[in-house]
């Protein structure tokens, strides 16, 4: 069904359901722009994040270009430097990696998981007709727009360039870096808006999941996607306020209004007597390390925010594709909870070399090393899920397997960093870059790509093209591994992060060819995403039509129409079993058993119906 068809269906349902209103169809603005329908909001998030993915990717390719062909005319960005002979300037490079990370983390990965899929799936999977707070939900999307606008404004001033970690004093003193003027202020405002948006979402999700589950849907009958979203929402609720507070502290440290307000500002992070760029010495009494503690207190749970929903979704997809229950459902739930809980007490592992008290280093080492345990348990359980299953290699399956495979790499490489003495050597080198790209891109984003293709039929009533999807997977996988695996070696060789021209250092000169290989792979991977985008857009209009349950999956969402109308379910769902009853021997006639299927025993073949409810 095309988008226009949805509108028609919307208005139609509304007339039926709200007869007392006598209300007419919603306006274009109400239906598509300022919609309070969680599905529309989810799609708004999805479209926005896919666009931001390309922006972040372009910035990354700029970084890679400079590392492969230093100081040569960079495509697209080079002509901006007419007065520098087409060479980018070193501060431009610092902006590239800063904004790449900022856009990817705050405008792509977190919104696509929580905003796009959280929004779309939560009510559908738990059997609710919408979120607990639809207007708050709408606001959570619309707060992303000022965030994007703020980051855009920062580009007007050259773009924030103090790293996405934005450590003071570099980010705090206007004279310390070209970007530390208005660009940094806008960056901080953008992060604040993203934080507000996430908080709104998190409150909504927690309330919805706790309160609005369909009858029969106990907590331990929820699909792991919902568990992932739920635990993520809790993480966000507890961690975000710290980041917002830190952001405001930094903003107030940076204030310097003119006139009689000149020089009135806080000094949370500013020690006294520092002279930068021949400016007046700072007045202070603050501590730069405080920012690191506050920032990482949020940003470490943030990486689990960027992981847990994808883990949940992959579990669901994998179980469906293998036609088997998830191996160890409760251990999976407990592992996710353990990851989240432990995630709050490991933030110091980003600060081992920072100069904080070494005793803290020891405590953080233990907690960080232990966080590998629940992750390992999950990996074993995924492998256990595939074990003994019946698998077909469609794009969804491929993405899920890649998820698990690359999570193994990413997770294992994390153990090096958890080991404090080893971290002394590898901190701020490319092995860190390799690790987090494996977990955020190789794991989460592959999960997201799989999820897009898995739930696309539910969103648009059509399936995405399989062969294009497979080519996209192949190119992305090969490009990704070609780009990021060699970075482990770079890190072991001591290749530092954030260097515009590493080759002036004698011990790094020989690494240029390897960097060129990485850049070429990254370009392949980057351009392959156009396949996904093209597939996505074209399939909305031309994809093969799909029914309610094209994958023969068990979740409540598959009992709703594709796409679901206003109110989601034409018949209010009741949940009779867990979400992973695939190939249950009590159900001999089919290899899945929907949660909403009231039938409790074997069915005669003639009475099998296409959808789960009567």
């Amino acid at each position: 069904m095309s988008a226009v068809g949805v509108a028609h269906e919307h208005g139609h349902e509304q007339e039926h359901a709200h007869g007392a209103h006598g209300h007419h169809q919603q306006s274009f603005m109400q239906k598509y722009v300022f919609s309070t329908d969680h599905k529309m909001i989810g799609m708004q998030f999805l479209f926005t994040t896919l666009l931001m993915l390309m922006v972040g990717g372009a910035l990354a390719l700029g970084v890679r270009w400079q590392l492969a062909f230093p100081w040569t005319n960079m495509p697209i960005f080079g002509p901006l430097f007419a007065n520098a002979g087409g060479q980018i300037s070193p501060e431009f490079y610092t902006m590239l990696f800063t904004m790449h990370a900022t856009v990817m983390i705050f405008l792509v990965v977190i919104p696509v998981l929580a905003g796009a899929f959280g929004n779309f799936l939560i009510p559908l999977m738990i059997g609710a007709d919408d979120m607990a707070f639809p207007v708050l939900n709408m606001l959570s999307y619309w707060f992303m727009i000022p965030a994007i606008a703020c980051f855009g404004m920062s580009f007007v001033y050259g773009g924030a360039a103090a790293g996405w970690t934005s450590y003071p004093l570099l980010s705090e003193l206007r004279v310390a870096a070209p970007s530390s003027g208005p660009a940094q202020t806008y960056w901080l405002l953008g992060v604040t808006f993203v934080g507000v948006s996430s908080m709104m979402g998190s409150v909504n999700y927690m309330t919805t999941i706790i309160n609005m589950r369909a009858p029969g849907m106990t907590l331990f009958r929820m699909p792991l996607t919902i568990w992932g979203m739920f635990i993520t929402a809790i993480l966000q609720a507890f961690a975000l306020p710290v980041l917002t507070a830190a952001g405001f502290m930094l903003l107030f440290d940076r204030f310097a209004f003119g006139g009689w307000l000149e020089g009135i500002h806080t000094v949370f992070f500013t020690p006294a007597g520092i002279v930068v760029n021949n400016a007046a010495p700072t007045v202070g009494g603050g501590q730069p390390l405080l920012w690191q503690h506050l920032f990482w207190f949020y940003s470490h749970p943030a990486v689990y925010i960027m992981l847990l929903p994808a883990m949940g979704m992959t579990s669901d997809m994998l179980a469906c594709m293998c036609r088997k229950p998830i191996f160890g459902y409760k251990p999976m739930v407990y592992s996710m909870s353990a990851i989240a809980g432990l995630g709050f007490i490991v933030w110091g592992h980003h600060m081992f070399t920072s100069g904080m008290n070494p005793a803290l280093g020891m405590t953080f080492m233990v907690s960080t090393v232990m966080i590998a345990l629940p992750s390992a348990v999950k990996v074993f359980n995924w492998i256990g899920t595939i074990w003994g299953g019946r698998l077909q290699f469609n794009t969804v399956t491929l993405h899920c397997i890649a998820f698990v495979s690359m999570f193994i790499v990413g997770g294992l490489s994390g153990i090096f960093m958890a080991a404090v003495p080893v971290d002394i050597y590898i901190h701020d080198t490319y092995i860190i870059v390799a690790h987090f790209h494996y977990v955020v891109f190789g794991t989460t984003m592959f999960g997201v790509f799989g999820a897009i293709q898995f739930w696309f039929p539910k969103m648009f009533g059509r399936k995405m093209n399989e062969s294009v999807g497979k080519w996209h997977f192949l190119l992305t996988y090969i490009g990704f591994n070609g780009a990021f695996f060699p970075m482990h070696m770079l890190g072991i060789a001591g290749f530092p992060r954030r260097y515009a021209d590493p080759y002036i250092h004698p011990y790094l000169e020989h690494l240029l060819p390897l960097n060129q290989f990485i850049t070429i792979s990254a370009m392949i991977m980057g351009f392959a995403q156009f396949l996904l985008l093209g597939n996505f857009v074209i399939s909305i209009f031309n994809g093969q039509k799909a029914g309610r349950n094209p994958w023969n999956a068990n979740g409540l969402e598959w009992s709703a129409p594709s796409p679901p109308g206003h109110g989601n379910f034409d018949i209010p769902p009741v949940c009779y079993r867990g979400p992973y009853e695939y190939s249950n021997p009590n159900r001999a006639d089919q290899d899945f058993w929907m949660q909403t299927d009231p039938n409790r025993g074997p069915k005669k073949p003639a009475e099998v119906v296409a959808h789960g409810h009567t």
């Binding site: 005319n73 080079g78 070209p178 351009f527």
Partner: protein
């Protein structure tokens, strides 16, 4: 769909990779906007043409042999010719044979100074040291005879340019105008070479900076500024090449500035308009007149452009050459007076004297850099009026503060001889005056002793101090 998608992918990739190398169209010298603005555009075009003729473009530089720049010159005579291969003998005394090993020899120019090809330059592919032969990129128009003289030059300059582009350009700009992309964020701004003035020299006040001085600045950096120490980043021979390139840029800049200044008088930007108003003739007629006058000026062999260029470069060449002479280097005639409290007292009393050197007028009575001159309006010699902002300005028109001696940061070097030279000859391009004429060398040493003691003198107020943080002292008195 897939075939089309593939083709599109390839096209996008290909276009993305276009412009892989340095883009010639963007890497070019720009004119000095401030000085060029009042000059008529046709006159500016003449200046540009002249500069391009003598200096070329950044990617295609011309080694103007008249200038005292070490281009990596090798000269000699042709021995035999074989197609594109030229076997030669070198004039050992005037040839830098080492430079022939440079990879920059590829595309360097070989100029014939005698014979059938006299005055013509050909591009080189390479040099074979085993049989002393050059490989040319193109065939020669006329076959050179045995004994024809040639000069090869430019490979050092090209190498220097590459190093400059990598390490220096983003601050100092393609022209050496101190206005690269990073420059506007730096305090103080990077040096603009085009006045030919460098501040921290060992030479006397009337002499330019020497190669040794430039090498020192590159090796030590300028503490308290964003000019870092480039050793060990640059090897010794790389330092040499960068220095040559910087000197070349400075000379180019000087010529540009002089040409524009000279032409400004007769060919002002608004001349056409003004004359049109006065004489009631049409602007286009006057423009034609201007064009004709310029043509005549350019063509005039004895009093026109070429003569002017001749004069200016003649002065420039002797100025730069004399900087390399040992007699222009300031060496204190007496060793340093022992650094005793008495010496420091003498120095201090010289420092605070209100006649003579007038140190306290700028540096303040305690050396904090807060003398009354920092509040006065300074005369602007260029315009005849005063600077708009209070305080002191340098020759580049930028505000400049006198050094705060209590901080112990000495931009030109902290050795006693460095301070001696600053006091004796002043600092070129700044209001810091030379005092050699009015004090004896011993007195200068007393001043040196005093200045070096200021950061440690408990009597003078210290720079901003604060409560220590977490028990750690935070005073930034590291005198560096």
């Amino acid at each position: 769909m897939s075939a089309r998608v593939w083709r599109l992918l390839v096209m996008v990739l290909a276009s993305a990779l276009a412009g892989c190398s340095e883009d010639a169209s963007q890497m070019r010298f720009a004119q000095n906007a401030n000085i060029a603005k009042p000059v008529h555009r046709k006159a500016r075009a003449v200046v540009e043409k002249t500069l391009e003729e003598h200096f070329g473009t950044p990617l295609d530089s011309v080694a103007w042999l008249k200038l005292p720049v070490n281009y990596g010159k090798a000269e000699g005579k042709v021995k035999s010719v074989d197609g594109r291969s030229l076997t030669v003998d070198f004039t050992q005394e005037t040839s830098d044979l080492q430079s022939l090993n440079s990879p920059e020899l590829n595309h360097a120019g070989l100029l014939f100074t005698s014979g059938a090809n006299q005055g013509k330059s050909f591009l080189l592919a390479g040099y074979d040291a085993s049989d002393k032969s050059f490989e040319l990129l193109t065939t020669l128009e006329s076959t050179p005879a045995e004994g024809d003289q040639f000069v090869v030059a430019g490979q050092n300059l090209r190498h220097g340019r590459k190093l400059y582009a990598r390490h220096c350009q983003h601050c100092h700009g393609i022209n050496g105008d101190g206005d690269g992309p990073t420059a506007k964020y730096l305090n103080p701004r990077p040096r603009d070479y085009r006045l030919g003035i460098f501040k921290f020299t060992s030479t006397n006040k009337d002499t330019k900076v020497s190669r040794d001085d430039l090498k020192r600045i590159l090796s030590q950096g300028i503490p308290g500024t964003y000019m870092p120490a480039f050793v060990p980043m640059l090897k010794d021979n790389e330092l040499t090449m960068v220095i040559e390139y910087v000197r070349w840029l400075a000379m180019r800049g000087e010529l540009e500035v002089q040409l524009l200044k000279d032409l400004k008088n007769d060919y002002a930007a608004d001349r056409a308009k003004k004359e049109a108003q006065e004489t009631k003739a049409s602007t286009s007629d006057i423009e034609k007149q201007i064009a004709k006058q310029l043509e005549e000026y350019v063509a005039n062999p004895t009093e026109g452009l070429s003569a002017f260029v001749e004069n200016v470069t003649g002065d420039m060449v002797s100025a730069w050459e004399s900087a390399e002479m040992t007699d222009t280097v300031i060496m204190p005639p007496v060793p340093r007076v022992p650094d005793t409290p008495e010496s420091r007292e003498r120095g201090k009393s010289l420092f605070v004297k209100t006649d003579g050197g007038k140190c306290i007028n700028c540096h303040g009575p305690t050396g904090r850099g807060n003398g009354f001159q920092t509040e006065d309006f300074q005369k602007n010699d260029a315009t005849g009026g005063f600077y708009a902002k209070r305080g002191l300005h340098d020759s580049w028109g930028e505000p400049i503060k006198p050094r705060d001696l209590t901080r112990g940061i000495y931009r030109g070097g902290r050795r006693p001889i460095d301070i001696y030279r600053r006091i004796s000859q002043g600092i070129k391009g700044t209001p810091m005056p030379p005092v050699a004429a009015t004090v004896t060398p011993e007195q200068i040493w007393d001043l040196v002793n005093y200045v070096l003691s200021v950061p440690f003198d408990s009597a003078s107020p210290k720079p901003a101090k604060s409560n220590s943080v977490a028990g750690q002292p935070s005073e930034q008195g590291n005198a560096n």
